[in-house]
């Protein structure tokens, strides 16, 4: 028997809005602001135009006294502020269940402003723990950062998740 994720997620997480579901697969959307908590970045190349390394970002979402923690381990290799990115999300729910996601073909694009960037990536579900232990799925990620790397990234995850057989 398949379990349905949508009702559980919507019941627990206000910003995690169900867009639709069937008996075993649901679409959910999560909006949040990521803040950098640690960076390990290096600059190389002529004019230090190449930036590479890690950026560790976190976010929290409060709902009915509970907190959902969002962690992003991001890796970047930018030339003049744009280029490929990679990363993995860890979403930790109030009951300690974890949902793990990975970027696929993430790309950062420069904006017309002097600094900042937009991000776009497909998403793959790595797996999870607790009620997400058999989770599968995919989705998309979009983000926008107004400041230089290290600044807040306004983010949106749209996921299609299947919890698998019970």
């Amino acid at each position: 028997m398949k379990r349905v994720i949508a009702l559980m997620l919507v019941a627990l997480v206000a910003p995690l809005a169900a867009c639709g579901s069937d008996s075993n697969r649901s679409e959910v959307v999560l909006n949040f602001d990521l803040e950098s908590v640690e960076k390990r970045l290096h600059k190389v190349g002529p004019g230090e135009q190449i930036l590479y390394g890690w950026n560790h970002l976190r976010s929290e979402t409060e709902f009915e006294g509970s907190t959902i923690e969002i962690e992003l381990q991001a890796g970047v290799e930018y030339v003049n502020g744009a280029g490929p990115c990679e990363g993995r999300f860890t979403l930790t729910f109030p009951d300690e269940s974890v949902l793990a996601l990975a970027f696929i073909d993430c790309e950062a694009f420069t904006k017309s402003e002097a600094s900042g960037a937009r991000f776009s990536s497909r998403i793959r579900v790595i797996g999870g723990s607790g009620r997400f232990v058999d989770a599968r799925g995919n989705g998309s990620y979009t983000g926008e950062r107004r400041d230089e790397i290290g600044g807040v990234v306004r983010s949106r995850l749209a996921l299609q998740i299947d919890l698998g057989d019970e």
Binding site: R40, P46, Y52, G53, E77, V98, A100, S129
Partner: protein, 152 residues
Amino acid sequence: MLAACDPAADRVTTLSVTTSLSSKYKDLHNVGADNRIVYGWNDLEGTAQVGDETVQVQLLGDVEYTDGGGPFGGFVTLTFPDGAVLALRVVDARAMAKTDTSDARFTGLVRVIGGTGRFVEASGRGVLEGRRNDELGGVVEMTYTVRLEESQ
């Protein structure tokens, strides 16, 4: 050793860096049935003797292993005594290991990202080979062999 491999092209060299890398920081997560999937970061550091120079080696590694092995990536930063930096990107790399991640063998490719100082115009590609006897987080013996092209 930093050895010229083509006498006619004095800017092409083969750089071989063998190092013992120790984990300085890990941020790993286990998920999936029986925690068979491990993913996250491992920051490793070591030194290597390259000719008569002692080079600092940092590997910002990321892994996504299932049953002990699988793909990994990362950034390698080689810092030479004069402050010059050569940066490598790990691509298409895999670990084969026991299900507890021990007895691991690493193979993969590296690409030169760029550098500073005498490596500021560097480009090139290479390979990596390594091993780890202990579980993830243990000491990694690694060799990076890079065909280094430095434009004039």
